[in-house]
C-alpha cells in the first residue's frame, strides 16, 4: 500500500531531515511515527502528500510513484488531520466536513447527506451541521477534523499529533473512538506523535526515528520485547518496560524447570510412589529422549488400578502444551479459559523443558504488585 524507497530530504543549507528511509506498509495498518522533536517524523509524513517533496528516493502508494501524480489530485485522495485542527472559521461544520467533496464537485444534496452520515459516526446530531467551529469544544472540533479527512472515503489518512492539544480525558476518549473507527473502516493511517503511550495504544506498527534515521520498526510488542538499542529503551521508558513485562515475558522465564515426570514404561506402583514423594496428583509422561507423551493423574490410576500394569496403559496423550517462547500473557489466557491446572512447556522437538502451574501465576501477580519496589530496591 505504502512504500518508501531510499527516501531522503535535505533542506537548503545542508540540514538533513530524513535520510535513506526504507519502509513498507500493508493496507489497513495503523502506522505510528514516533521520535523526539526534530527527528524528521513530521517531514516524513508530509512527504507522503507532497507538502514537502523528497530530495531523493521514491514513495509509492498502491504501486504508483507519487511524484508522477498531480499533487492536487494526490492530496484529495489522502486525508489529513493536524494538531491545530485547522477547521475554517468562516465555514459551517457542514461546509468544513464536505470541503473535499466540494473540490471533487459532488452535488450539494449528496454532500449534505454524506456530512450527516459522517457526523453519526462520532455520535453527533445533525443540528451541528449549521454551527460554526468556534461554537464547538476542542474535542468536538477535532472530531470534525477527523471526519473531514474521512469525507471522500480516502483509503490513506495522515495525522500529525491530532490529539496533542486536547486535555487527557478527551484525548483518551478520542483515541478509543478513532481506533474503533479505523478498524471499522479499514483505513491505512500514518500517525505522528511523540507520546509513547499513544503509540503503544493505537499502533499496529511503530516506526521510531532519530535524527532522520530509522531506529526501529515493528509491532508494539516487538519493540517492547526487544528494544533495538539504548535510545529506544530510554524513549520507551523503564517504567513502561517493567509494566509491559507480563505482556512480553515468555513462559520459559517463569516456568518451573523441574517438572515431576515419569517414563511410559514404568510400573504404576512406581508412579504412585513418585507422586507421593513429590506430593503431586499428576505426572507428565515422557519417553527416553524426554519427548512429552501425555500425562497420568491419580484419578486414572485409581480407576484402572486392577487392570493396568504400566504407565503406558493409562496414559492420557491429549495434553495441551505450549512452546517455551510463547508469551506468558497468552498462556495465562489459555490456563484461565480452559480451566487447566498446569501447562507443560516444550521446545521445538516436543522435549519437555518445564511446567507452568497456577503457582507460577501467583508469582506473576506478586511481581506486578511488589515487583516495582524490588526493582527500586535493587537500584
Amino acid at each position: 500500500m505504502l512504500k518508501f524507497e531510499h527516501v531522503s530530504k535535505k533542506y537548503k543549507g545542508g540540514k538533513i531531515a530524513v535520510s535513506n528511509l526504507n519502509l513498507e506498509f500493508k493496507k489497513g495498518e495503523f502506522i505510528v511515527f514516533i521520535g523526539p522533536s526534530g527527528c524528521g517524523k513530521t517531514t516524513t509524513m508530509k512527504m507522503i502528500n507532497r507538502l514537502i517533496e523528497p530530495t531523493e528516493g521514491k514513495i509509492f502508494i498502491n504501486g504508483e510513484d507519487i511524484m508522477e501524480k498531480d499533487p492536487v489530485k494526490l492530496r484529495r485522495e489522502i486525508g489529513y488531520v493536524i494538531q491545530q485542527i485547522g477547521l475554517f472559521p468562516h465555514m459551517t461544520i457542514q461546509e468544513n466536513i464536505s470541503l473535499v467533496l466540494k473540490l471533487l464537485k459532488w452535488p450539494e444534496e449528496k454532500r449534505k447527506k454524506r456530512a450527516e452520515e459522517l457526523l453519526s459516526l462520532v455520535d453527533m446530531t445533525p443540528d451541528y451541521l449549521e454551527r460554526y467551529p468556534h461554537e464547538l469544544s476542542g474535542g468536538q472540533q477535532q472530531r470534525i477534523g477527523v471526519l473531514r479527512a474521512l469525507a471522500a472515503d480516502q483509503p490513506l489518512i495522515l495525522m500529525d499529533e491530532p490529539f496533542g492539544a486536547l486535555d487527557p480525558i478527551t484525548r483518551d476518549a478520542l483515541q478509543d473512538e478513532f481506533k474503533n473507527l479505523q478498524k471499522k473502516l479499514d483505513k491505512t493511517i500514518v500517525f505522528v506523535t511523540h507520546d509513547m503511550d499513544e503509540a503503544l495504544k493505537l499502533a499496529d506498527k511503530i516506526v521510531i526515528l532519530r535524527d532522520g534515521q530509522l531506529v526501529q520498526c515493528g509491532t508494539p510488542e516487538e519493540i517492547l520485547r526487544e528494544p533495538a538499542d539504548e535510545f529506544v529503551e530510554e524513549f520507551i521508558g523503564k517504567e513502561r518496560l517493567v509494566q509491559a513485562k507480563p505482556n512480553i515475558t515468555t513462559v520459559e522465564q517463569i516456568m518451573n524447570a523441574h517438572p515431576v515426570t515419569i517414563t511410559s514404561d514404568e510400573q504404576l506402583s512406581n508412579a504412585i510412589t513418585v507422586m507421593k514423594t513429590n506430593r503431586v496428583d499428576s505426572l507428565l509422561v515422557i519417553d527416553k529422549e524426554g519427548v512429552l507423551e501425555g500425562y497420568i493423574d491419580v484419578e486414572a490410576i485409581d480407576q484402572n488400578r486392577k487392570k493396568a500394569k504400566s504407565v503406558a496403559d493409562i496414559l492420557n496423550p491429549d495434553t495441551f502444551s505450549v512452546q517455551k517462547d510463547a508469551l506468558v500473557r497468552d498462556t495465562i489466557r489459555q490456563i484461565l479459559k480452559k480451566g487447566l491446572k498446569y501447562v507443560p512447556v516444550v521446545d521445538e522437538q516436543k522435549h519437555l523443558v518445564g511446567i507452568v502451574t497456577r503457582t507460577s501465576l501467583v508469582d506473576i501477580v506478586y511481581d506486578s504488585i511488589w515487583g516495582d519496589e524490588e526493582l527500586e530496591r535493587a537500584q
Partner: protein
C-alpha cells in the same frame, strides 16, 4: 445665532447647488478609492506572496502618502491639466497605501495552519486564495478601504484649486466673500458629515464581513460536553 440662521438661509437658497457639489465630491472620492482598490488589492495579494517585493512596494506607497496634497495636485496638473480626472488620480494615489497595506496584512495574518490545511486537502493555489485567504482577510481589507475613503473625502476638498468642483468650491467661495463664515461652514459641515457617514457605513460593512461573528475564538474554552 446669526451664524446658524445665515447657514440655514444659505442651504435653503442654494440647496440644489450644495447637493450637486456634495454628490460630485463623493463621486470623486469613491472613484479614487475604487480604482485604488482595483489596483491595490491584487498588489497587496501579490506582495503577500512574494515577501521580497513587499518592502519596496510598501515604502513606495509610503512615499506617495507623504507628499503634501497641494503639491501633488500642482504636479499632476502640470502633466494632466485641469479638471476632475486629475483630482481622481491624486485620490487614487493617496488611497493606495491603506489598501495595499491592509490587504497585505490581512492575507499575511491568515492562520498558516488553515492554508496548510487547505493545501493538504487538495486545494489549488487559486482555490486557497478564493476560499480561504480572501474570506478570512476581507474585514481587514475593508478596513483599508474605509481609511482610504475617509482620507480621500478630506483631500478632495482642495480639488477646487484645479477646477474640479466639489464641496471645496463652496468653502473657497466663503473665503473669498466678505463675512463668509456661514458659506465656509456650508461647505465644511457637509464634508465632515460625509466623512463620518462613510466611516460608519464602512465600519458596519467591515464588521459584517468578519469571518468569526462572535468575539469568542472558542478553542479549548468550552468544557467537553460529550466526551
Amino acid at each position: 445665532m446669526d451664524l446658524i440662521s445665515d447657514l440655514l438661509t444659505y442651504f435653503i437658497n442654494n440647496g440644489s447647488y450644495v447637493w450637486e457639489q456634495f454628490f460630485r465630491h463623493f463621486l470623486m472620492s469613491a472613484y479614487g478609492v475604487l480604482f485604488a482598490a482595483i489596483v491595490g488589492i491584487p498588489v497587496g495579494i501579490l506582495i503577500a506572496r512574494y515577501a521580497r517585493l513587499s518592502s519596496v512596494v510598501l515604502s513606495l506607497a509610503n512615499v506617495i502618502q507623504t507628499i503634501p496634497a497641494l503639491a501633488m495636485l500642482a504636479v499632476l496638473m502640470l502633466v494632466m491639466g485641469l479638471g476632475t480626472n486629475t483630482v481622481v488620480f491624486a485620490l487614487f494615489l493617496y488611497s493606495l497605501l491603506p489598501i495595499i497595506k491592509n490587504t497585505y496584512t490581512g492575507i499575511r495574518n491568515v492562520d498558516h495552519t488553515l492554508i496548510e490545511s487547505g493545501k493538504a486537502m487538495g486545494m489549488t493555489k487559486w482555490q486557497i486564495l478564493r476560499m480561504v485567504e480572501i474570506p478570512l482577510s476581507l474585514s481587514v481589507i475593508m478596513a483599508g478601504l474605509r481609511t482610504a475613503l475617509v482620507i480621500t473625502i478630506g483631500i478632495a476638498t482642495i480639488g477646487t484649486f484645479i477646477g474640479a468642483g466639489g464641496l471645496g468650491d463652496i468653502i473657497m467661495r466663503g473665503t473669498n466673500a466678505q463675512d463668509g463664515t456661514a458659506i465656509i461652514l456650508a461647505g465644511a459641515i457637509p464634508t465632515a458629515l460625509m466623512a463620518v457617514i462613510a466611516d460608519v457605513i464602512m465600519g458596519w460593512l467591515e464588521r459584517s464581513l468578519m469571518p468569526v461573528k462572535k468575539k469568542k475564538q472558542g478553542r479549548n474554552t468550552q468544557e467537553e460536553a460529550t466526551a
